[in-house]
């Protein structure tokens, strides 16, 4: 315990001596200051005493709580600042910790102390997370205070960001530690980690993109199949009306309408089948990407957990509906004939597929998100620890 504490104190001293640490801390403070200056009202965003007319970011589209939680904290604070900008700066700062630790002249002294190599390496790895832990802790506490004092919105669950962001960073830092140990170069460790992160990002983007396409085609298929059923019903009605017609002309006219509807139905059925095929094709690709992602750390999903815990599915649904209402208010009125079957609505399909996608992401299990990511991390750290324990320095 004494040695563990000494390593943590040393890590803090090392960070304290780095300008980058304090630069990121100051920038985090500025971000919180911006949060303190921003709010929403009925017209739009309010910045100090000025209001910008932004209907989609107003109390008409969302509650104030939702704005602070989702838009400011989860979206900007965590999603952009801490898990992108601050994470990159943290990598820049901490990528040298393991190479410095194992450099000639330094490692001999540490290894000669009565502490096992595995424990030594793993403790050193954990101290590398101190940078991010301190940053996110200060940022989250500041956000809780700012939201509470400014909008009387006290949300202690915001502090969940601390373990979640540290966990997210730990996935990347495990790769950084392994490469740093092998190469003994901070620059190599940084570049390889960023490259790895980019690969994970590509998989995340492919996952989202392919799933979106699959669900959109599914919604299109459902709409077209619904339309086929509606046309069939219409054809049935027309046939009934045709049977009731007393004149040949009337029956012919009805037959003409029936034939057109049958043509429409066949065309629609063909499009529905095509949409189903497309859905299956996109689905197959998505499945492959999903399987590949299983063995990779889930960086995006891990940070999204914060949104999942802070914003309920109902809140999210309410927000989507409110936003949709705003869009529909602006739409032209429906000028269709009363008996006409409604056409396929792409916007509806996209809206429904977006909801399906959110549901699917929300339903991804904690085990799949954190469990498999931790397995990846443990495997990488296991390899690094094995190398460290057996290497001659």
């Amino acid at each position: 315990m004494r040695q563990t504490l000494a390593l943590f104190v040393d890590a803090y001293r090392e960070l304290n001596a780095k300008k980058m640490f304090w630069l990121v801390m100051i920038l985090s403070g500025l971000v919180v200051a911006v949060f303190a200056a921003v709010g929403i009202n009925e017209r739009g965003i309010q910045i100090l005493f000025w209001t910008l007319d932004t209907e989609f970011l107003s109390t008409k589209a969302m509650t104030k709580e939702f704005f602070y939680k989702q838009v400011l904290f989860v979206g900007l604070g965590i999603g952009f600042w801490l898990t992108w900008v601050a994470a990159i700066l943290a990598l820049v700062s901490t990528s040298g910790m393991i190479p410095d630790f194992v450099s000639g002249g330094a490692i001999e002294l540490t290894l000669s102390k009565p502490i096992g190599r595995a424990r030594l390496f793993l403790t050193k790895y954990v101290t590398g997370l101190v940078f991010v832990a301190l940053q996110v802790a200060v940022f989250s506490v500041a956000c809780v205070l700012v939201f509470g004092l400014r909008a009387n919105y006290w949300e202690p669950r915001i502090l969940l960001a601390i373990p979640i962001v540290v966990l997210f960073y730990s996935y990347l830092y495990s790769v950084c530690a392994l490469v740093g140990l092998l190469s003994r170069s901070a620059l190599t460790a940084l570049l390889v980690t960023v490259l790895f992160w980019f690969v994970v990002f590509l998989f995340n983007a492919a996952d989202a993109g392919l799933l979106s396409e699959k669900l959109r085609h599914e919604q299109m298929a459902i709409q077209r199949e619904t339309r086929v059923e509606a046309i069939d019903t219409q054809i049935g009605l027309l046939k009934d009306r045709q049977a009731n017609e007393t004149t040949d002309d009337g029956r012919d006219a009805m037959q003409g309408r029936i034939d057109r509807r049958v043509g429409d139905r066949d065309q629609e059925a063909e499009k529905a089948a095509s949409a189903r095929n497309a859905m299956n094709a996109w689905g197959a690709w998505h499945h492959r990407v999903y399987m590949a992602k299983t063995i990779l750390p889930k960086t995006g999903e891990t940070t999204s957990l914060l949104g999942r815990y802070l914003i309920s599915a109902e809140e999210e649904q309410e927000h989507l509906e409110a936003a949709q209402d705003l869009v529909e208010d602006r739409d032209q009125p429906d000028e269709r004939e009363p008996d006409e079957v409604p056409p396929v609505n792409r916007r509806d399909a996209e809206r429904d597929s977006a909801q399906d996608m959110q549901t699917e992401f929300r339903e991804r299990s904690l085990w799949w998100i954190i469990g498999t990511s931790l397995i990846f991390e443990f495997v990488v750290l296991g390899i690094a620890t094995f190398i460290f324990a057996r290497r001659d320095f």
């Binding site: 004494r2 000494a6 001293r13 330094a106 102390k113 320095f393």
Partner: protein, 365 residues
């Protein structure tokens, strides 16, 4: 953490030193408490079949100052690193303070100063001592007490709160030595402790070594500076190409090469030989005799043997300018050890070539 204070472990220094010497003269095969270091058959082969160590047998008694010498690449630092678990041996049966080499808890009682060590530049001298003390398992209250005392001992009190990045090499070395003593060690391994240190600093470090010995600690020094070692070491070992070429007290190692030299005034070898009535290179009593111009060298450290020669020279009317016993220096010993027995040439630096059953035939005194 197990901390044995020197006073507990070493009741009287003299008694221990005597006990160590006695123990060294006996042959024991397992780790014995009389030895601080007891190594047998230490081998290290690096990748590429580079044999850094080829079966080191070495014993260091408790309470003695032991010097390890050797040319560059002889395997000195490798041996020290094996003792400190920095390098894993290929094969060994060794003990450190009575525990097998590699036993981590034992290292809580061992201090170590590596060669070419680097300290984190963001730490002050006091923080370095605190950090490495904590890593060695020293409790906070003891660390607080020792930091001031040790910095004072190495003359770094004024620099205690200054960052190491501003230190000179000699200052870092002083802090390094203080660091190695933070855990109040029973055994201290110092790898090139005077590297980069000015003459005054060397004298101070020599004083520290003597003080450590007086406190009953075992000091193991690895150094190139033979004169430094000669001044402080009780025993030395010379490592050449991964094997112990010689080990023992300096006296015992130089025993065979001690001689007397008689220098005469204004004469030449034939006259001298005539005066001595000796044409050969051996005296009738068996000692070697060498005459070079006006200098007579007699291979003995016994003054009684020399007396008849003095009488003979004086009887022949020759004038003696000086008569002195000559003891080879550690440097002479070292240079002899690093010469190839067959060719007489100085061996090339580096590890021994990959020759099966490589053996140079070490000597123990």
């Amino acid at each position: 953490m197990n901390h044995a204070t020197p006073t507990q472990e070493f009741p009287t220094i003299k008694a221990m030193t005597t006990a160590a010497s006695q123990a060294i003269s006996t042959t024991k095969s397992r780790g014995d408490d009389a030895y601080a270091i007891d190594l047998q058959g230490v081998h290290k082969t690096y990748r590429g079949k580079v044999h850094a160590l080829r079966g080191i047998d070495m014993r260091v008694g408790r309470g003695e100052v032991f010097g390890l010498l050797g040319p560059n690449g002889a395997g000195k630092s490798t041996l020290v690193k094996i003792l400190m678990t920095v390098i894993r041996p290929s094969k060994q049966r060794g003990h450190l303070l009575g525990h097998p080499v590699g036993h981590k808890p034992t290292l809580a009682r061992v201090g170590y100063l590596p060669e070419h060590h680097t300290f984190p530049g963001y730490l002050t001298g006091a923080q370095i001592l605190d950090f490495y003390g904590a890593m060695a398992g020293v409790v906070r209250s003891d660390r607080k007490k020792r930091i001031g005392a040790l910095l004072d001992m190495v003359g770094m009190t004024d620099w205690a709160d200054k960052k190491v990045k501003g230190y000179s090499k000699g200052m870092r070395q002083r802090v390094g030595i203080a660091q190695s003593l933070m855990n109040d060690p029973a055994l201290v391994l110092l790898d090139e402790p005077t590297d980069g240190v000015d003459p005054e600093g060397r004298r101070d470090i020599r004083g520290i070594m003597n003080r450590l010995r007086d406190e009953g600690r075992t000091v193991f020094i690895n150094s190139h500076l033979l004169s430094e070692l000669e001044a402080v070491c009780d025993r030395v070992a010379i490592l050449v190409q991964g094997t112990v070429e010689r080990q023992g007290t300096i006296d015992s190692l130089t025993q065979d090469q001690r001689r007397y030299e008689i220098e005469l005034v204004g004469t030449e070898a034939p006259e001298v030989r005539q005066a001595l009535s000796c044409d050969g290179n051996t005296l009738t009593t068996g000692e070697s005799l060498e005459v070079e111009r006006n200098v007579i060298r007699i291979g003995t450290d016994d003054p009684v043997v020399v007396q008849p020669l003095v009488d003979a020279v004086r009887a022949a009317g020759l004038t003696i300018r000086s008569l002195r016993p000559v003891r080879p220096s550690l440097e002479d010993l070292f240079m002899e050890a690093v010469r190839d027995k067959q060719t007489g040439e100085v061996l090339k630096p580096g590890a021994a070539p990959n020759v099966k059953n490589h053996k140079r035939g070490g000597r123990t005194s």
